[in-house]
Symmetry: C2
Subunit: 489 residues, 2 copies
């Protein structure tokens, strides 16, 4: 899979130059993304994919060839030069450069594999998880509330409280109680820039190098990465259809556990109440914090709710994390933490040090939406829309593949996991690449696993299929394309 | 100076309860903000200041008295109980609580003194530095561009590039070259949530516990705090009227230096070219990075510009930091780093880990303002407005105090430093408190010093007087109030 830096952010019309293509490929070759001697995309295919002229791609390839990175063969696909790539290069692709040194944190980030899930692409249909359909966004209500907020003139333009708009925290207090039975004071709420900042603040405040943290396996990769970036060691605990296997926690020493009990990411299990109690008991015995990531709990189909961990315990071990990235938009960058009372001061200071506070206007606008009931109306509406998308995806997949697939985690959330019973794991890369050339974005589950093998289901090809950015017709078309790609594999 | 948590963020009408007042006072007593036996504000004065009823304040005082924190005397101001406050309490006021442990970073933040410069207040006139006048904000242009941005519908709602909107980075590239002779590629620009996040990313990526960093003395306090929060040790270097005394750097070993060469904060010196070269030479010899905080370089009066450090060197030792908090609004939370090429990847990853990316709409709106020339028109306009404010402040201060004051750092920026030649440092607290009771906000320079004494000018009372949030009439009125307070001191 060829990965390129964003050519344009939201300014999608910006064209990518030969130099950028050259640099991206060069970096990926140096990082060992391609094996020695492996084929590169055809210049025509790559040009189409990137929406640039073939000449541009050819220029990039010529530069790579001139520098000895690739072998060019007339009439055949170019290959990564077999002479070039030795293990010493892939092991430490970036040399220490520049006048200074990095911190240990910086060195860990230098080594971190890029996780470019923000890249725009030219795919016809993409089942990438986490994206939303712009048509779902309540554009006119949002515009109205933003304009009302912008029309307000504060006494001075000045910094706000680090934990965010008091009005939004009060509105969220009510919302969390109504929607999630989470009880807290507004003072316990910290408005953050999306759940990512919530995870990062938790990581910084709770983990030191050499500490351990419990993480689901498979898991939300950015959580694992951000906790590991502190220098702490992940302790992966296996996940089944009921979420993390809490019985495996006995004897595990760790400073914190990260869990997605409402809808395990990516496998989709809803954690039963007994396991919730087991997790909390472990945390109490261990003196550990539990970070409860409730990232998409608004989406629940045909099942009854289970109370969040946060409402099940009262001694301050749970840090609750919510977001509007799955209900309104990930581009707004608003999330919230509910922190135990004794951690309020350090989270407030950490947020102040991190960036003073989150931008005001969107916070006030969201507060207004929650106060008026528009937010909850909107959530009901998108729940229905996503329920329809899910239904279509499941029906067409079943019709197209019948017993060849197994579906996991469809009771909640905005994605399902599809296992291909008759496709061994070795077919994953060919499937994904063939799909990409056909204009279809597929996202395998395997990079989300910590254990590399031995897990029964992970020996098959598994896909994380997000549907929330697609229309009904696009979902049907995408499944058709998938059927054709699998047939030709 | 009594400090209270924000009662309402931007929701200013929210009233403060007795409990909040009680808790704030109790915390401040425990933290040693008040000396043993020192007087507390009168209940009437405090009630007025906070805009609450006197009964509310009395209830808070009664609770504090009942718990033995204060001594209540009929007909006299209450005092902090002399029996209570021992050094052991002030040294470690917060006990370790909760089920878990904090990281070393968390423990450092637990000990960090709060720096609540975001508190709303009921003052009639406040010379707090860093606030802007809402009437200066280009509200209609901003509203128009935000509406244009909100009307655009992207292909999907998805994460953007961690370094921010490509369009904004391109616009900033041009702006930085035109306005600041800073040359860079858009790929070197990282959009951050205000300069605070820029400082925090630098701190995390460049400093380890036990490292040293050079900091100006006196300095921008949040910079010192955020660098020190990594566990690194500040090496304060004295500042004179030409900025940091670079000749004192000889032999200093440090990983980075933080400097404000365009307009030293707070003393206001503009660093001459020779010192700039000396600083860069030191960095080169030491293998250190220099963080050039160009926080208010748009404001320059009667003096010719000196090129930024960034344009004076070419081997990648300078990290340039800019912000729109002083030109548009601190509430928008937009700043930008220009990082050396070899640090691009780690800054990109650090920003992605920190919060994925900054919110999109404001970035696009700012890009539009820069592209159309509105931003630079606006900067010219606010430069003129702030020049007028500065003129009025300097004239009225000179008229009111004549030779009793010395003015420092008036050539640039949005504040001046006023030294009271005949007020010894011991008069600082009485002056500030008396002003506060009169409804006037004054901000002494002393907390910005690292060295506690021995510095000549710091033996006098010095005030950092920001004028950018005030109208001409308010400035005149504020100076009048100041004159009265000083006269009655």
């Amino acid at each position: 899979m060829v990965q390129f830096p964003s050519p344009g952010g939201s300014n999608r019309s910006y064209g990518m130059g030969a130099r950028q293509i050259y640099e991206s490929l060069r970096e990926q070759i140096l990082r060992g993304v391609y094996n020695t001697g492996s084929q590169l995309p055809s210049s025509r295919g790559l040009a189409e994919e990137l929406g640039v002229s073939r000449t541009t791609v050819t220029a990039a390839y010529e530069q790579l060839a001139a520098e000895g990175f690739i072998d060019v063969r007339q009439g055949a696909r170019h290959r990564v030069a077999s002479s070039l790539i030795g293990p010493e290069l892939t092991a430490n692709p970036q040399k220490q450069a520049g006048p200074g040194h990095l911190s240990n944190y910086g060195e860990r980030l230098r080594g971190a594999r890029r996780w470019p899930d923000y890249l725009p692409n030219r795919l016809k249909i993409d089942f990438r998880y986490g994206d939303l359909a712009p048509s779902d966004f309540p554009a006119s209500v949002w515009k109205r509330t933003m304009n009302a907020v912008m029309a307000q003139r504060p006494a001075r333009l000045a910094y706000d409280h680090p934990c965010g708009s008091r009005r939004l925290r009060q509105a969220l207090q009510g919302y969390l109680w109504r929607a999630r039975t989470v009880r807290c004071d507004p003072e316990q709420i910290v408005i953050v820039n999306g759940s990512q900042q919530g995870l990062d603040l938790c990581a910084r405040l709770l983990l030191d190098p050499g500490d351990s943290f419990v993480i689901e396996d498979p898991c939300y990769r950015m959580a694992r990465e951000v906790f590991a970036s502190t220098g702490a060691t992940p302790v992966p605990v296996e996940v089944d259809e009921h979420g993390i296997q809490t019985e495996q926690l006995a004897g595990v020493a760790a400073r914190l556990a990260y869990a997605t009990p409402s809808h395990q990411f990516p496998l989709g299990g809803v954690m039963p109440i007994a396991r919730r109690h087991q997790l909390l008991e472990w945390a109490r015995d261990e003196g550990a914090y539990v970070i409860e990531d409730d990232y998409d709990s608004e989406y629940r189909y045909d099942i009854s709710p289970v109370p969040p961990l946060h409402s099940l315990e009262d001694h301050g071990a749970v840090i609750y994390l919510g977001t509007i990235s799955k209900t309104l938009s990930p581009m707004l960058r608003i999330g919230y933490l509910v922190v135990p009372v004794e951690l309020q001061q350090v989270f407030e200071t950490a947020k102040q040090f991190a960036d003073r506070h989150s931008p005001i206007a969107e916070q006030e606008s969201l507060a207004s939406l929650i106060e008026s009931g528009s937010y909850e109306n909107h959530v009901r509406r998108v729940r229905r829309l996503n329920g329809e998308r899910r239904e279509v995806l499941l029906t067409t997949m079943k019709r197209s593949f019948q017993d060849r697939i197994a579906v996991q985690g469809a009771e909640a959330g905005l994605h399902v996991v599809i296992w291909f019973n008759d496709l061994p794991r070795s077919r994953e890369t060919p499937l994904v690449e063939a799909a990409r050339y056909a204009g279809l974005g597929l996202h395998p589950i395997s990079p989300l696993y910590h254990r590399q093998s031995g897990a029964g289901e992970a020996d098959r090809v598994g896909l994380v299929m997000g549907y929330s950015a697609l229309g009904i017709r696009q979902i049907e078309k995408g499944v058709e394309m998938l059927r054709d790609v699998v047939a030709q594999l």
